[in-house]
């Protein structure tokens, strides 16, 4: 069936699309710009996909960069894997990077992608020449005044719910709907983005089945979750970085953001690192204000 398409001002699909084999998991890779231009890697956030760079990437490519992005495993057009983990995402990233260059290259990463790339840059500094981190700097935030036993109760409920879901995950499917339905659902998570932009994203990040549109995101993945990982671990990695670092942060909290504040992040900036706070913007800074953010990024890259 011919899938419905949309256009959006300034949005351009990648110039090249291919699959990369990351230890048996197919990773969809996208490129904007000339292959002979210097490489920069773009990394999307959790529950997103590389198509969210369709406006921003062409701006950077037009300035003489070969922008390479990919869909994380389970996201977009990459394979739905059997297992997902932070380390596996980093390995997949290294696999894509190795398929393009063995030289260190700059990385621009958003949200969870930013935290992933700080770990990659800290553990494999020879892979990364500069980092632009867009609201991907989780920090330890003061917990609400919840007694220990109530925290355990919340965790018990979360774990039980997650385990219950694992029993039915085999049959899990994304809920179908019209293009507008999916856009409206997504708009609850992205309340600051225009519905026209989100409808455009549906045509990239969802597929049109006979019974309606479904997001391509692996239905076995769930937002949030639990585990030993602590957000402050990212701060410890960030302060250890040796490559030039530009952090971009909005001031408006959103459901998909970390809720980090400049005062939480500043003490953990790496030596010489820079944090730019963009007033009045939310979690998707590069989508809300692509021109100004691309100017900041290009100035940093130069």
């Amino acid at each position: 069936m011919q899938q419905e398409t949309r256009t959006y001002p300034g949005a351009r699909r990648p110039d090249r699309i291919r699959m990369n084999n990351a230890s048996g998991v197919g990773i969809a890779v996208y490129e904007w710009g000339k292959e002979s231009d210097p490489v920069i890697f773009f990394v999307h956030g959790g529950s997103d996909f590389a198509g969210t760079f369709d406006v921003f990437a062409p701006l950077i490519a037009a300035a003489g960069w070969r922008v390479v992005a990919w869909d994380h495993r389970g996201h977009g057009d990459s394979d739905h894997a059997s297992l997902y983990s932070w380390d596996a995402d980093i390995r997949d990233a290294l696999s894509v990077m190795s398929s393009v260059t063995s030289q260190p290259a700059p990385v621009l990463a958003h949200s969870k992608g930013g935290a992933l790339m700080m770990q990659l840059a800290e553990s494999s500094p020879y892979r990364v020449s500069k980092i632009i981190n867009i609201d991907g700097m989780p920090s330890k935030r003061r917990m609400p005044d919840v007694p220990d036993h109530d925290q355990s109760r919340l965790l018990a409920s979360e774990i039980g719910s997650w385990l219950d879901y694992r029993h039915v995950a085999t049959e899990a499917q994304r809920k179908p709907g019209t293009l507008q339905d999916l856009a409206q659902r997504r708009a609850k998570m992205n309340p600051r983005l225009s519905i026209e932009w989100i409808e455009y994203l549906v045509t990239i990040g969802a597929r049109q089945d006979s019974d309606g549109w479904r997001w391509k995101l692996d239905p076995t993945m769930r937002f949030g979750g639990f585990g030993p990982w602590r957000p402050e671990w990212s701060s410890l990695r960030m302060v250890s970085l040796t490559v030039p670092f530009l952090g971009l942060l909005g001031t408006v909290d959103e459901p998909m953001g970390w809720g980090a504040r400049a005062r939480d992040i500043s003490p953990w900036l790496p030596s010489g690192g820079r944090l730019e706070v963009l007033d009045g913007l939310g979690h998707f800074i590069h989508i809300e204000d692509p021109i100004n953010v691309s100017n900041l990024v290009l100035e940093f890259l130069s």
Partner: protein, 217 residues
Amino acid sequence: MSIVFLQHNKIALALHKVREGNGRALLLLHGLGEDAAAMSTLSINWTGPIWALDFTGHGQSTVPAGGGYSCEILMADADIALRHLGEATVVGRGIGAYIAFLIACARPSLVRGAVLLDGPGLSGGPVHVTSTPEIPTAGEREGTAPDPWALIELSRDARPQNYVLTFLRIAISDSKIDEPISVVCKVTPPWIEAIRAEAGVLTDVNMQDALDIYAEV
């Protein structure tokens, strides 16, 4: 041994029936890189049926592509087995001990006591943030059990003390028995150190004594 295959998302888990019996089941969880056969050699006096699980990527369970292991996924493996067995006592060795602890805390009404034994993967990785060296491939054995990605990832997973203590609080609060965890292992990595002096944890017992206690509750 007969085998039942249970589906956990894209993974077919092999659950081996080691011995017939009457009464509550005993579930055995193997160490890192081992399989159910390693557990079936334990000398155990238990009147109920005894079962041993092959974790994801181990024994006769599916070996997934590209890794992505976590102890929480192995905990979910154990939960799939418990759904098949019903109420059970659990014995875990090595990483299986950590999983036995997690599932006993996460499903306090299903797990009637968890016994933690020494074995491969008991310690795990750091308790704090650390660098992750670049490991681009799993080597020649990729795709075979035990999955090299399981060995790489689960031998260096973080196990902070505050994480296990939060789990333990759930068990203490919701378990039907006073001491649902028995620490029998001699090796005491930081996560064991964190729990061994806590309420709800039995120490200074051997495996059979702990099983005899749990058989009565």
